[in-house]
Subunit: 264 residues, 2 copies
């Protein structure tokens, strides 16, 4: 662990999603919070199950929305965001994200994605006007939450090889594309490579110790590790129809790698 000098002190939001306070997810969350605080950072925690976070978007999220009017979710959420009239628990989470220099999502992989309660945090918090949208310059993504780093910390029951380059489930980075690129890149955050603990259904003590050490290294590098170098829409890598310009990729590049600049 490295201690932060005052100018290195950062603000970190940890969002955790598991119903069991004695789970591996809860242990990793507690470890991250303690490790980051011991390094001198400020940490806030959104423990979604403990908060009884409502997962579903509905009209209650927008108190000013007239009950008899058709709910156009993006429009209503944008209007409520810009008017400062989102439901208070959503506004509170937006304030935490805005406050933060980095966001860590800690969750078990359920059906190759986040648990519903965490999806509901994403659906409800990252409204138009907050995470993206015409009121956030420039007009299309990549900017609203710029300057923040983002780290996925995930546990998965499967073994690592099943998420490797030729693994049956697809590469971990491809499976997490909706988060890494869809959420983080789109809102202007800088996603790091995901941190994953595999074989998590029955993790022996000694492997948990190793996982903690690896996690500590990733937490220490939260503000110094190289983010995933996704290509830039506002930087001119895509045409007006939002297709990657011809010929910019390395020969043989394909799949979702098209959207990452060649490294090194």
């Amino acid at each position: 662990m490295r201690e932060a000098t005052p100018q290195q002190q950062k603000k970190i939001l940890v969002v955790s999603a598991h119903p069991e306070p004695r789970s591996l997810t809860a242990s990793l969350t507690a470890f991250a919070v303690e490790h980051l605080r011991a390094a001198g950072h400020e940490v806030r925690l959104s423990d979604l199950y403990a908060m009884k976070w409502k997962a579903t978007v509905d009209a209650d999220d927008f108190p000013d929305h007239p009950g008899d009017r058709r709910l156009q979710v993006m429009g209503a959420s944008e209007h409520a965001t810009l008017a400062g009239r989102l439901s208070p628990e959503i506004a509170a989470e937006q304030e935490k994200v805005r406050w933060s220099d980095a966001v860590i999502l800690q969750f078990p992989m359920w059906w190759f994605s986040v648990p519903a309660i965490l999806k509901g945090w994403i659906d409800r918090v990252f409204t138009s006007g907050f995470g993206y949208g015409p009121e956030v310059p420039p007009p299309y993504g990549e900017s609203a939450l710029a300057g923040r780093r983002a780290l996925v910390s995930v546990t998965a029951g499967a073994r690592e090889s099943a998420f490797s380059d030729r693994g049956v489930h697809g590469r971990l980075e491809d499976v997490l594309h909706p988060l890494q690129h869809g959420l983080f890149w789109f809102t202007g955050m800088a996603p790091l490579e995901p941190f994953a603990v595999f074989g998590a259904n029955d993790l022996p003590e000694e492997r948990f110790a190793v996982a903690q050490q690896e996690y500590a290294r990733r937490l220490d590098g939260l503000f110094t590790d190289e983010p995933v170098p996704f290509r830039s829409l506002v930087g001119g890598d895509y045409d007006r129809a939002m297709r990657l310009l011809p010929g910019v990729e390395a020969p043989g590049a394909g799949g979702l790698d098209l959207h990452v600049r060649p490294r090194g």
Copy 2:
């Protein structure tokens, strides 16, 4: 529309996820239900918002689970499934899936994935012992729900080019990989190519009419269109570490296409 002869009559479960009964999602759901019924099929509908579906997995899902015992979600859900002791609303949805010859998921794409309420339907319904698991032969996926077809019908605000081969968001099929391969293939269902309506935030009347016609064609082909030819784990395409065997792919194939057999 083609009318089904008695032996072509099938059972179809439509799962719909939108809070607004006058939404495009609700219109497409109603259209699908009517079109399939008019063709002679039996249709059941799970309208998740209308059902006030609980999105989050928690201990209440497993009434026999002792409150003071650590909740190991996969273990508890498998135990409750095999003992017939899942909460009644989960058991009811499992019965609908088991009854069906095809499942259609109708939803708006929110953050490059399903709305939280639908993620919660997936998280809670596809338990170990139902959708996969050691009690379902063979021991690892691809079989539990075999014989069923699966169709994603999604609406997205973005234009189609943004989800094309070189589109900034990634190809639609890659973005939907956690559903198409993660959920459907893994549980043994046969996923069709997704059906998508783009530019959905403000769809003019005439484009809605065109979308309905296209949807009708996809519904007519629900049991005759070719499913996505994902490779097979039980069929021997992968090694014991669950990595694709060397050299089986077409030259130049990469990304998630590795897991699809070359077509045609």
